[in-house]
Amino acid sequence: MSVLVYIPSNNVLPKAALETVTYGKKIGQDVVVITNGTADDAMLSTLGVYGASRVLIDRSYEGNDPQQLTRLIANAAKTCNSSTIIFSHDVIGKAVAPRLSVRLKAGLVAGAVALPNTDGTVKVNVFSGKSFGNVQVNSAVRIISLLPNSIQPEQTGSSCSVETFDGQVGSTSIVVKSTKKPEGEIPLPEAELVVSAGRGLKGPENWAMVEDLAKVLGAATACSRPVADIGWRPHHEHVGQTGVAIRPNLYIAIGISGAIQHLAGVNGSKTMVVINTDPEAPFFKAADYGIVGDAFEVVPKLTEALKKFRESSH
């Protein structure tokens, strides 16, 4: 019986990959990683450091069609006699894990936030982060998709072997025409630090100071829903109950009132800082650190203070 971890085709190892391998190692001895694409052996072998016993890669397939990936992973699960299969609960995990669940008749725990409990149930995020549920799996094989930033990668071993694997992915009916990837941006769901702003900023022209702050921190930027709806910021920055749900280590909310729908998507953040002119803003009830003040004065000061701190700690 092995634990199988799927890692999306990529030429760098994202933190989510290290998180899922670490998670796998904590629930089983024999952790096999399955992946596809062009990643080189040297990079993949470092997954052993995080607990993998070996890595299987299908180099003949570079795509990300959920139907084909499902076949690849199902074949690997059969070869490895896997009892648990782990994904990151990201764009690929959300598409592939449910398909695999049907294919293998294996119960899917979607959006796990912690290691399995002693009774075998797994804690997941429900009600858009307003609470948690504990899910029991009734089938012999289980699938777990892990919310990014739920556990820290841990180095426990040494490099492992990398073997080619024929996933027999079959044909696809999806043709990818083009891919747009914003350069140098940190994808929001994986970001450890997030700077977010709302309608309190009054207009899109005022976002330079938010971006400056994010840059000094190395943070991703986010926004409240009305800000995305009126087109001040792109939709993919919209966080909350009807946007992206995030759980970074640090969430800085600037000029955001803290409506229940906004909080739902961000209250998994480990530390929250709120900057708001209104001392009665509901966000202060959810925050760890609060500053009652005008964003236009406070944010540049915070950026300066961080610059100083970064310089002195180098």
């Binding site: 999306p8 994202p14 959920p66 139907q67 990201d90 764009v91 598409a95 592939v96 894990a97 449910p98 398909r99 669940s101 049907v102 294996a106 119960g107 899917l108 979607a110 804690k123 429900v126 009600f127 858009s128 307003k130 609470s131 948690f132 549920g133 504990n134 029991q136 009734n138 696809t172 999806i174 043709v175 990818v176 025409k177 891919t179 747009k180 990837k181 914003p182 941006e185 940190i186 450890e192 630090l193 939709h235 993919h236 919209h238 109950q241 009807t242 640090l250 739902a264 480990k270 530390t271 760890d288 650190y289 500053i291 003040g293 004065e297 406070v298 000061k301 203070a305 961080l306 701190f309």
Partner: protein, 262 residues
Amino acid sequence: MLHNISVIFVSRKLKDMKILVCISKSPDTTSKIAFTNNNTAFDENGIQYIVNPYDEWYALVRALELKEAGGGQVTIITVGGSADEAVIRKALAIGADEAVRIDADPVDAYFTATQIAEYAKNEGFDLILTGKETINYNGSQVAGMIAESLDLPLISLATKLDVSDSGLVLERETTGGVEVIEVSTPAVISCAKGMAEQRIPNMRGIMAARTKPLQVVSPVSVETLTAFVSYEMPDAKSACKMIDPSNMDQLVELLHNEAKVI
């Protein structure tokens, strides 16, 4: 309104599509979440149910736009008890032509998706649309499960859906970016923000919804693969530490030494 622009690109080739839109109920977004029976069940006391926003705003409205541009039929389907008919009527008021209710408690995603797939398999739908997830269970599971059950392609987290000569043109989220893709019908699509804009039902729609066909279908026998056995609330936050707006050095110090996040 922005959504009208994309409607123009609907070509004449893929006309009269049969579209199935999967609808789930979810608690109103302002709901206070609580649990009963020793934290084993969701407390429905005082909860108002709405159509899950992703299903309504994006999947249903885009289906209606495609029908308005190219003809066709929009059917909504939900797995739920008779109490869910209020939510079904709301979706009909927005403009769906007819509704199907599978008369069963949607115990887990696998059960729900299998019921929908069983119904859909002989109905010849060109498109099966879902919202990207429900706002209560956030699983993002049903679309993928339907697709696998019916052996159809899945385009998940689609932010744009148009019809071209040869099939469908979509945009979908990828890790940190967007992909433009083409796929032929039939296909299963989970819909995310960007695909359409919310529509408010008007009086005429609400009146018409009362007499639109609502078919109640018996469930097939399906095992469940998972169960929620208990719930818990997040730990209570300790009080917010207030910091003087002129003292950002203190905030940086606290973030570094106390919160240890920078």
